[in-house]
């Protein structure tokens, strides 16, 4: 189901990413104040936006899981959270590099995006430990969905709160978004955003394809084991003896 979408997605991602790279380094104008360093912006901000949307989408998919009881929504939500966490790490690292290059410090508290992502990352870092500390799979999925929904609401509130806190203590450094960005920069930014979103979508589809395939293999294997046990029972019964041992319960892979 997912593999079919993969090829066009991957091709689109490659094409748009190549276009984005070209535009970033050959077309977009050089920033007057920050110079070449500003090129990080085309990586850092799209990553942040896509990660945020990823967390929100995960929340929506989690709500769908709770509503429809369809486990597939839980898996989709899980992968979205997982990918967004990776992107969040990327946001923190690229943001830190930018801070070092722009301000000489590896961390600045005056950048709302960076600070919000630190907090959001700290929250979602508990997602996987929470899942793996609950043994019952149904409950694990439900609790993870509740967490994802709370996390999505939190992400929005957190951003608002951090923005409000920094707004009148420090002026925004990242003044490229909105404000008066030259049109070439803005177009480049949009293309970079599209590329990042496509990367996310492709990786998401890839992981889902892998997960659903391994789930099918697991089910097929279990079916065969059950058939083998049944055949063994039948053959020993036909031979006129009770089965010596109970059929073994195979460990789930």
């Amino acid at each position: 189901m997912y593999a079919r979408a993969l090829k066009p997605l991957a091709l689109a991602t490659a094409a748009v990413s190549a276009l984005a790279f070209t535009m970033i380094f050959f077309w977009a104008p050089l920033d007057a104040d920050q110079g070449f360093i500003q090129k990080i912006f085309y990586l850092h901000v799209p990553m942040a936006i896509v990660a945020l949307l990823g967390f929100l989408a995960a929340g929506v998919m989690a709500a769908l899981h709770l509503r429809t009881r369809d486990r597939r929504w839980d898996i989709r939500s899980y992968v979205a959270v997982h990918l967004s966490i990776i992107l969040a790490v990327g946001v923190l690292v690229t943001g830190s590099i930018w801070a070092k290059a722009s301000w000489g410090h590896w961390w600045v508290w005056s950048e709302p995006v960076l600070v919000s992502f630190l907090i959001t990352f700290l929250l979602y870092a508990v997602y996987q430990p929470l899942r793996f500390s609950i043994d019952d799979p149904g409950r694990q999925a439900r609790y993870a969905s509740v967490f994802a929904i709370a996390g999505a609401a939190f992400t929005v509130l957190n951003f608002v709160a951090v923005r409000m806190a920094e707004a009148y203590t420090h002026p925004r450094v990242f003044s490229q978004t909105g404000g008066n960005m030259p049109p070439r920069m803005f177009v480049t930014f949009l293309v970079s955003l599209a590329a990042m979103a496509l990367v996310f979508a492709t990786l998401w589809t890839l992981e889902l394809a892998s997960k659903s395939a391994s789930e099918r293999v697991r089910r097929a294997r279990r079916r065969r084991e059950r058939e083998a046990d049944r055949a063994e029972l039948a053959s020993t019964a036909r031979a006129g003896q009770p089965p010596a041992t109970a059929p073994t319960v195979s460990a789930s892979s």
């Binding site: 104040d33 110079g35 070449f36 990080i40 990586l43 990327g90 990367v199 391994s214």
Partner: protein, 54 residues
Amino acid sequence: MPALPLDAAGKYVAAAYVVFLALVLVYVAIIARKVGRLERDLSELEQTDAERER
């Protein structure tokens, strides 16, 4: 802080993009490992099927 000269700035920009690339590639490697395991499981299944038919 004044803008860094191009060669110094270039290293930072390159580092940022390399980080992104590394994240994506590590992720793909992890998925690739899962797919490898999948192929092994599938060939196991095919083997037990073949044995059963004998």
